[in-house]
Amino acid sequence: MFGIKADWSLDIQERYFTLDDYEGNEARWCSGCGDHAVLATAHRILRDAQLPPEKSVFVSGIGCSSRMPHYMATYGLHGIHGRALPLACGVKSRRPDLDVWVATGDGDCYSIGAGHWIHAVRYNMDMTVLIFDNQIYGLTKKQTSPTSPIELKTNTHPEGASLDAMNPNTVTLGITNASFVAQVVDWNPPLLHETLKAAHAHKGASFVRIIQRCPVFVDSITKELQEDASRLRLLTHENGIPVAKGVEKLFPDSVEHDPSDMAGALRIARDETEKGIIPVGLLYQNQNIPCYSDLSGQGVETTDEEKIAATNAALDVFAI
């Protein structure tokens, strides 16, 4: 997932990290909020990976979900609305040794941050991107988001949202260089765990859209899905997200889907818009897409002498 510098290894042998080592301030989300589940999963993934807390950076924009970095005991960058991705790309750019995560919301990523989303997929820098999609603006109290269902009554659309919900997966899959596209719901802990783990393990930008409960503002949206699992479609495959038997049973609708099959991924993703069937699992993965972070990080080991020599060489050209 990411390189640890040579001079670190010894130290690491001696440190054993418990969940405590990853837990930051007490989470201040509403009770029943799906964000809690994602947070707990992230703690566990880091613990399982035994990554030193100082080597991970959680980067976010603004929104309820973007508070996540405060609840981690790692480094964090709680940025500004919509800019989580370029901030995170910057962190990674010259620090390939850092383990970078992004926490962003459906407004933060798909609305104000839409341009960066497109381009972060293109850059494919090595990072794990969690999109907390509660289909609403939470922090600012119930305005329409791009993924809000049409006709949902919100404070900005009291008569109901006027546009069909955006399908983020068909967009992400359409962006050249997409390398890891998955979708999961927050209320299935084992699936959430396996999905984030696979995303974290993937070298490249892993985009995980997490369909997230916001009981305070749009309780019914996810409640319906929780109550009627037939609207979800589990994607299974040996190269996909590992699904325990017990978990698979919970999904009346499941389908084998090879994550290397882009055409299939697109078809499955489109079913969400066209048939209301929400895929859960790994839509697409391609491990051969180059990572821009490998390029941007070139030269980080340059010594002072080399820098001075290169600058002198540059000056020589203009010498008189």
């Binding site: 510098k5 930051g24 301030n25 030193p52 807390p53 100082e54 080597k55 950076v57 959680f58 980067v59 970095p69 405060h70 981690m72 005991a73 790692t74 480094y75 964090g76 960058l77 709680h78 940025g79 500004i80 800019r83 991705l85 370029p86 901030l87 995170a88 790309c89 910057g90 962190v91 990674k92 750019s93 010259r94 620090r95 040794d97 850092l98 341009g115 960066h116 497109i118 381009h119 390029l295 941007s296 990080g297 070139q298 030269g299 980080v300 080991e301 340059t302 002072d304 080399e306 820098k307 001075i308 290169a310 600058t311 002198n312 060489a313 540059a314 000056l315 203009f318 010498a319 008189i320």
Partner: protein, 623 residues
Amino acid sequence: MQPQTKQEHIVEIVSDSGEGAQKCGQTFGTISAKMGNGVWTVEIIPAEIQPPARTPSGASGIRIRLGSKEITNVGNEGDLVVAFNEQVLYSRIANGAYKEGTVVLLDNRWESDRSTEIQQMYKKAVAEFRDHGLVVHELPIHEACLKVVKDPRKGKNMFVLGMLCRIYNRDKEMGRNEIALTFAGKAEKIITSNQKLFDAGYQFAAEQLGEYFFEIPTREDRSDSPMVVTNGNTAVGLGVMASGMELVSMYPITPATSASHYLADVFPAAGGFVHQAEDEIAAIAFAIGASYAGKTACTITSGPGMALKTENIALAVMAEVPLVIVNVQRGGPSTGLPTKIEQGDLLSALYGEPGDAPKIILAAATIAECCSMVVLARKLAESFRTPVIVLTDANLATGVQPWERPELSRDMLAPPLDQSEWNSDIPAYDWDEKTGLSQRPIPGMPNGEYVLTGLSHTKQSKVSYESAENQYSATMRSRKLATLQSTLTPPNIHGDESGDMLVVGWGSTFGAIEEAVDNLRTTGEKISSIHLRFLSPLEPGLTEIFSQFKKVITIEVNYSDDINAPMITTENRRYAQLAMVLRVQTLADVDCWSAVYGHPLQPEMIGNVLQERLNQLNKKTGE
């Protein structure tokens, strides 16, 4: 025959776009610099990429001012012009580039053009130019080139270089060598063909223009230090490298982009990387990310790009992220005059962000400072844990001048990435109450973990809900500026320490203002000037300095209301940007003269303005 000695001369080469006038002028400038002259070169750039040929708006070219002193600005009207066609001269005339007696060496090929329309245009123009007082020589330049090459459009520039080298008595071999350097990497054939053109031009001038044979003596004030010749944007690029920064994150915008073009070429050799982001917002956010992670980064842009970066600058101020922002100012507001010079971004740099966002602002006055201020900016950014804005402008960006080659050293470079263990007793913002300064943990440091946030936060970088904490952290951020100011010395006074009038400037007007002041001083006026490099905080001691003069006035390239214009009163007058800042901080009745003509201020223009104000002043004070 002995050449005539001249203390300085202003030469222009004007052509259609694509005829190589700029390369010719730059090479001529470099040769002159190598021979020990002071040189300032500035490009004449048309607004369009492929403007129509033979039109005033298509004028493309270069101005070279050379002299036996250090040359710090474009100067006044030109002395000698080589023109590839007559139409392009119209726009230069409209810009006031020439005076009575300016010598025009005009290619006469249009006189016998196939199109009678062109023939007539040519004749009409020549007559008009002569009426205007220009000394026009119609010369068979094209014809002479044809003897050496098939298509003189590709090569005429080197022929003209030869002409100029003869006229200004340049070392011929040096000229030939410079051509070899210019075309280094190209086929040998190309080099020799251009050298042949050069030789032909040299001979042509000797034969046809014997009366124009000048000697510009070597600079007396020339230091022995090694020099380099570059424009300001290249100097910015060199400054980035010399500072040890490793990342420039940018989005293309005129006139800033060429700094990044240059870096894209040479930066990788120093281990650096140029990131072209999807927009200016992403560019600065990317730089903030890298800076947060311990690699202070730089973003380079211009007006509209600055506007887009506003929100992120506020984040960097609030969260105290070191960052270098180079703003190559252009004409505004909005898209404005994208290729033209203006000093219009001082107030937006100071006050652009909603809320209180104190930051350090420097302005380069010379091309050398385009380099050194970037080095300084990185250091200040890290010491004061804040973004630093370096203001340059289109005049510096494209002006070319010899400047002292910086002696590189390790202490110009960023310190190595610190990954040692952080003392967990020290909070992430361990503000020293007296100075506002604090050390920062870098991701990777064990025990330093904190969450950077743009929300109001405590010392520990926790979101703050307490009213007093917001006041406290705002105070700490502001205090850093006062702390920095306490380490600065008052600006140098150019001229006497007291007198009738003090001129205050900033940025690229430096050379022109000092030249104007010097000229006035030789006529006996009691006038001095200061030129500010620090705009936030201001350099100290200004109130004291101002008190020694009857009148203080700023000269700036930005908009201000003329006090004599309709509707304008002392109370509603909108002052030039530095004048406003000085009035706030000193309460001196700082006057201003400024304009947004889009071209650099000439010493003569400034001199006239100041003379007028001096006359008024002396009338008023009854002297």
